[in-house]
Amino acid sequence: MNYSDILMDHFKNPRNQGEIKDANGVGNVGNPICGDMMKIYIKVEKDKDGDDYIKDVKFQTLGCAAAIASSSMLTEMVKGMKVKDALKITREQVAEKLGGLPKEKIHCSVLANEGFKKAIAQYHGEDIEKSAEEKEIEEAHC
């Protein structure tokens, strides 16, 4: 496996790893088939402009080195950012910051991004107001 030094560093010393007890958003994502699982916790507060910003963010990951490093990198990138800016970060940017990802590992960075978006969505209360359509899709999946 060809992992960059940056990626290996995040794997060895993951930043922002753990949970936030009083998180106001949690994103749970995973691929139960291959067994990968990720949980992103966020604590959103207002900054001096009165905008929502990521005061704190933490992750828990059960997965490969690329999954652990992607979640570590993502949390490092979004920490302190305004929510609206943080949402613009793409998985390609995370991968690039990690010094690139092997092709078969791209889905691991997708997981980190989705987890974060889900956490924000939960903060916005979106998971409670899921559209009927969305629910239908989910049920069809099961």
Binding site: Q17, L62, A65, C108
Partner: protein, 409 residues
């Protein structure tokens, strides 16, 4: 602490004795063994010597051994070579599909050629499963044999979980079926038989390799799994068993496997087998490997909670341990061990490239989560107790670290 190599199911280091035997054939004894002059004949002597070693291990005739480039080539030769000789045997066989039975836990070097023969429309393949202990079922194999069955190919020892398959018993079943066929058919001959092949690449160092005891018609071995060189193997082909060549060229190996003799590698294989033929010494070596493996297993089970052994421990080769640590992912474990200069392998989907968990572990009936959390730790004859102690010291911390990162507690 030096680097610790615990991936002997993947390959073994070359034994210095073996290397010593090979070196002259890279320097002074360079002749083409097919040449009639002195240079050639000296090289041929090396090949003859190597063949004798293997004949001793198998308890077979010299001419029943065909050298190859390794287990993959040997397996391909048996599967395709047997099928082709059946096709060429009679004119109306040309339109027939022949039936081959194999198991779900075979190496890709069996499964892939089988798939190819199926794709080409030449063969029908039946794949039997294994039970949750890690063994094929004799009754199932017996049940699957039908009129157009020409071959049963079952590996001797599985490369991931190390379980020793009941080769002797399968041999007996096939013998009985052939006896029944002979009773019903007064003209019973070579092309009316069911043949039996075993890929013994992982068994050679540990198991009874006498072909008469096993009842096999074909058997495959490989140099690099037994402290010999890579790129060399041998096929046992019982006298009278039909095999048609799959590559064509010179007259080497009775035209069955043409190509200039790879003399140094052949001598290397012979030397590796010579060491195994020293049965007393080899038994001692294997016992020591087993004791270290058992110590490792027990200590890891004691020190790390939620640990599972994949496949049963009895009837498993001494070198192999396949173990899962729930809520720790295999590739991550492997890399963290690698950072400590300890080499192992994993059946996790994350490490596979195809992102599918090990098909062997799935065939055992394990959940994807347990496959995800699996490590294969395989010991060798140069493994020391100090090395095993170091792994016992290091691994619990790695598992604890990964479990701490995991969302599951």
């Amino acid at each position: 602490m030096n680097k610790i190599y615990l991936d002997h199911n993947a390959t073994t280091p070359i034994d210095p004795y073996v290397l010593g035997k090979m070196l002259p054939y890279y320097k002074d004894i360079f002749g083409n063994a097919s040449s009639a002059h002195g240079f050639g004949q000296e090289a041929m002597k090396g090949i003859d010597w190597a063949r004798e070693q293997i004949a001793e291990l198998f308890g077979c005739k010299l001419k029943e051994i065909i050298f190859s480039s390794g287990a993959t080539e040997s397996n391909n030769l048996v599967l395709r070579g047997l099928l082709m000789s059946f096709r060429y045997a009679k004119k109306d066989n040309w339109d027939k599909k022949f039936h081959i039975i194999t198991s779900a836990i075979e190496h890709p070097a069996i499964l892939e050629p089988c798939k190819e023969l199926e794709k080409e429309g030449l063969a029908e393949i039946t794949i039997v499963g294994i039970n949750d202990r890690g063994f094929v079922d004799l009754e199932e194999i017996k049940k699957e044999i039908k009129e157009n069955t020409i071959l049963v190919s079952i590996m001797y020892v599985n490369n991931e979980i190390g379980t020793i398959q009941p080769i002797k018993e399968i041999g007996k079943i096939i013998e009985r079926i052939n006896a029944e066929r002979a009773k019903k058919n007064p003209k019973f001959a070579a092309f009316d038989r069911v043949y039996f092949h075993t890929d013994a690449a992982q068994a050679t160092h540990y198991c009874d390799m006498k072909v008469k005891n096993l009842g096999v018609d074909f058997m495959t071995i490989s140099g690099h799994k037994i402290y010999g060189p890579k790129g060399i193997g041998a096929t046992y082909i019982k006298e009278g068993s039909p095999i048609r060549a799959v590559t064509f060229g010179g007259h080497q190996e009775y035209n069955i496997r043409p190509g200039t003799y790879n003399v140094a590698q052949i001598v290397g294989l012979g030397a590796a087998v010579e060491l195994i033929n020293n049965t007393k010494e080899n038994a001692k070596i294997n016992k020591r490997i087993e004791e270290l493996r058992d110590k490792l297993t027990e200590e890891l089970q004691k020190k790390i909670p939620d640990t599972f052994i994949n496949g049963v421990m009895d009837n498993r080769v001494p070198a192999n341990l396949n173990i899962s640590f729930k809520n720790a992912e295999g590739e991550s474990m492997m890399l963290m061990l690698d950072m400590e200069e300890i080499a192992v392998s994993t059946g996790s989907a994350c490490a596979s490239g195809s992102l599918a968990p090990s098909y062997v572990l799935l065939a055992l009936g394990l959940s994807p989560e347990i496959c995800h959390a699996s490590l294969r730790i395989s010991l060798g004859k140069f493994t020391t107790e100090k090395e095993i102690n170091y792994v016992i010291k290091i691994l619990p911390g790695i598992i604890a670290k990964l479990r701490k990162i995991s969302p599951y507690k």
